[in-house]
């Protein structure tokens, strides 16, 4: 079985290196095909491992080699394939394989086709290192690896020029890439602190050792570690107040948005909390866990509210990703780790599908993303309409699609824990989710064909791309039916606590489900009434304060620009001009000047006349004799 672990892990790396060989050459289709095949290999190996874990009930732990061993510090390159990581592996490799095949079609006309596959496969490798590592150091390596790949891929079209924030809120791909990278650096600093705290107090970074030592630690240390690790998770999973980078990351190519900024990388934060669940379920850190749940609920609502008025197709979906990540954190914070993981997997399927569908629309509309300029696309894009419809129904939480089961379980958890305020907010958010997803579907695919005014001639995506998307569509429909089996499988792991609803909740579950359903259907009906028959703009509503507030993302990007970026820029300028130029640079320059001047003055000694040199030598000899004599006398 060990060899399957290595195949699953290293096939994407081989794919990345292979594609990198052709990085500078013009488009070669076989690069994409071979990359996809290698990713499919990785998926098959993951599936075999999953079957093995299901059958035997225990994980596989391999140690490839020692990485760092210095004194007491021993960090091996070890990988663990247990119930949690194998779930992640299957989800990651499945979505990646589909996205790789999709990219062959989507990046068809791009001159950096080969480079794209190199980055994309490198991302998958980093993500697998992240989920499979058996220690925090390996997790951190993967964590930074996905960050770098995300940066490379958001800024894939780095040559595009900057625009003003009024025209394009993301300014430019390179700006968005830098924003994502810098925000993640801030969060990663906290995460490193958390890892150091755990190491100092437990003497190891191996998960099993650290978790076994947790009950002997002080409350303050546990709280600090829990908070610091969660801040790291907040950065990667774009939770408030570090959320702005995710919507701007939509500047990257759409397959990237589907794979990295919806299905896999952004869920790494949730994965971290699930992985570290022995820490977060300690009674000493219950406040931190509750904060996670509360923040998750807040972000779910907050992001959904901004999606209500957004006009950019991809940004709407990005907000919905944020919102769903909030749901996952709500579940994880309340202790329902398996439900969080379940929603993570289900969400990965339908959100990737939604994004890939958006990519088809974007391809058809020649990179136009404003849904106000679309409409009536269902006539030309039957397949994409079907896929996006399925994905949106799943996202809205209509049974029997996947989203209903996973999201309903989270809402039920909030009720079961007695946190009625969180529960109410999650229910309302479910309604908003349904509204904005169907607003986007109706505006894109139904009503009058507004694109004709802009002289755009949309066309359907290639056949093979649509076929490649079908596994995601299938899973978005059926994944929910495996809820029970999934619960039994994941919670059979000793590291994964079970979570069952109380008797009371169980009785009310059907009514709670119906209530959520009413909200969801209500959202869809409202969206149909407002947008089903074409776009009718309401001047009064659009000029209202709340609409403007939402449209400007609560003025948070503006706030960051005015109160963080600008003062920081000014401070940097002052530091540059006064400290760097006048102190640091001046010191270095003056040392160099001293040597230059000294050399210039003393070079006259170099007369070329041997006699002079001998005289100097004699002077030196006499001086040294004098020094020797004087020191001898003193001593």
């Amino acid at each position: 079985m060990e060899k399957f672990v290595y195949i699953a892990l290293f096939a994407p790396l081989v794919s990345s290196l292979f594609a990198a060989l052709f990085g500078m050459s013009p488009k070669k289709t076989f690069v994409g095909v071979i990359a996809s095949l290698l990713l499919a290999t990785s998926f098959v190996a993951s599936a075999i491992l999953a079957a093995y874990v299901v059958q035997t009930g225990h994980g596989i732990h391999v140690t490839m080699m020692d990485w760092i061993s210095a004194g007491d510090l021993a960090i091996p390159f070890g990988f663990v394939v247990d119930h949690v990581s194998v779930t992640m592996m299957v989800v990651v490799t499945l979505v990646s394989t589909v996205v790789h095949i999709y990219s062959i079609g989507y990046m068809d006309h791009d001159k950096s086709f080969n480079r794209f596959f190199s980055y994309l496969s490198a991302f998958v490798f980093s993500m697998l290192v992240l989920v499979m590592s058996d220690n925090f150091a390996g997790l951190f390596i993967g964590w930074e690896g996905v960050g770098v790949c995300s940066w490379l891929l958001i800024g894939f079209w780095y040559h595009k020029a900057d625009q003003s924030p009024e025209v394009n809120p993301s300014i430019s791909p390179s700006w968005a890439a830098n924003e994502a990278f810098i925000v993640n650096r801030i969060a990663d600093l906290a995460m490193l602190v958390g890892i150091f705290v755990l190491y100092w107090n437990t003497g190891s970074l191996q998960y099993d050792v650290v978790f076994a030592a947790l009950p002997y630690l002080d409350e303050s240390i546990l709280t600090l570690a829990a908070i610091a690790l969660f801040i790291g998770a907040m950065g990667k999973s774009a939770q408030f107040p570090l959320h702005t980078w995710l919507t701007d990351a939509m500047e990257g190519p759409t397959p990237v948005s589907a794979l990295i900024h919806a299905a896999t990388m952004v869920t790494a934060g949730v994965f971290l909390v699930i992985r570290a669940n022995p820490l977060y379920s300690m009674p000493e850190v219950s406040e931190v866990s509750f904060f996670i749940a509360a923040l998750g609920t807040f972000v779910a609502f907050f992001a959904a509210s901004m999606a209500l008025v957004e006009r950019d197709l991809k940004r709407i979906i990005a907000y919905s990703t944020l919102s769903q990540l909030g749901y996952m954190f709500a579940a994880a914070g309340l202790g329902a780790y398996w439900i969080a993981l379940f929603h993570l997997a289900a969400h990965a399927f339908f959100k990737a599908l939604l994004f890939l569908g958006a990519g088809n629309v974007m391809h058809a509309m020649h990179d136009e993303l404003d849904i106000f300029k679309m409409g009536g696309l269902k006539k030309v894009m039957r397949g994409t309409y079907l896929y996006m419809g399925i994905a949106s129904i799943a996202l809205a939480g209509i049974p029997p699609l996947a989203g209903f089961f996973s999201k309903d379980a989270i809402i039920e958890t909030a009720f079961n824990e007695g946190t009625l305020f969180l529960w109410a907010m999650l229910v309302v958010t479910a309604g908003m989710t349904a509204f904005y997803s169907f607003r986007q579907v109706f505006l894109t695919f139904d009503g009058d064909e507004r694109y004709k005014e802009f002289d755009i001639h949309p066309h359907e995506m290639y056949k093979f791309v649509l076929v490649a998307m079908s596994p995601l569509a299938l899973l978005a429909i059926i994944a929910g039916f495996f809820q029970g089996a999934f619960q039994k499988f994941v919670t059979s792991s000793p590291l994964m606590p079970d979570y069952v609803m109380s008797e009371h909740t169980h009785h009310l579950a059907i009514y709670l489900g119906i209530l959520v359903l009413i909200f969801a259907v209500g959202g869809i009906v409202l969206a149909w009434k407002k947008y089903g028959n074409g776009l009718k703009r309401d001047e009064k509503c659009e000029n209202s304060f709340i609409f403007q507030l939402l449209k400007n993302q609560y003025y948070i990007p503006k706030f960051y620009a005015e109160f963080i970026s600008k003062p920081y820029y000014l401070l940097s300028q002052i530091m540059w001009k006064s400290v760097d130029m006048k102190i640091v640079d001046a010191t270095v320059d003056s040392i160099a000047y001293l040597f230059f001047k000294g050399g210039d003055q003393t070079r006259k000694m170099q007369t070329g006349n041997l006699s002079n040199y001998l005289n100097w030598m004699a002077v030196g000899l006499v001086l040294m004799l004098l020094v020797a004599a004087v020191t001898a006398l003193i001593a």
Binding site: R603, K604, M605, Q606, T607, G608, N609, L610, S611, L614, N615, A618
Partner: protein
């Protein structure tokens, strides 16, 4: 009675003469003679000290220096001949070609 100090004074005088020769002379051949004087001044000091301490090491060193000086002269005179053939002079003031 001639003691160690006499030899050392002689050695010092010879060394000073050699040093002044090295500093003052302009002709390369003369410089060679001056260095030879300095080397032999050291030899005298070695031999005297060796006799005084009843230790053969100093005399061994003196022989060693004589051998080194001989080979040095062999190479050095060869070089001097080449230099003279090339420049037609051995005057150091005319040989300055590496002015900084």
């Amino acid at each position: 009675m001639i003691g160690l100090s006499h030899y050392l004074i002689l050695s010092g005088l010879l060394f000073a003469i050699g040093l002044v020769g090295v500093i003052r002379r302009r002709n390369l051949l003369m410089l060679f003679f001056a260095t030879e004087i300095m080397l032999n001044a050291a030899n005298i000091a070695f031999a005297a000290a060796s006799y005084y301490y009843n230790d053969l090491t100093g005399q061994m060193f003196a022989f060693f220096i004589i051998a080194v000086a001989a080979s040095e002269v062999a190479v050095g005179l060869g070089l001097l001949i080449v230099l003279y053939k090339k420049f037609g002079t051995l005057d150091l003031d005319d040989l300055a070609s590496m002015k900084g």
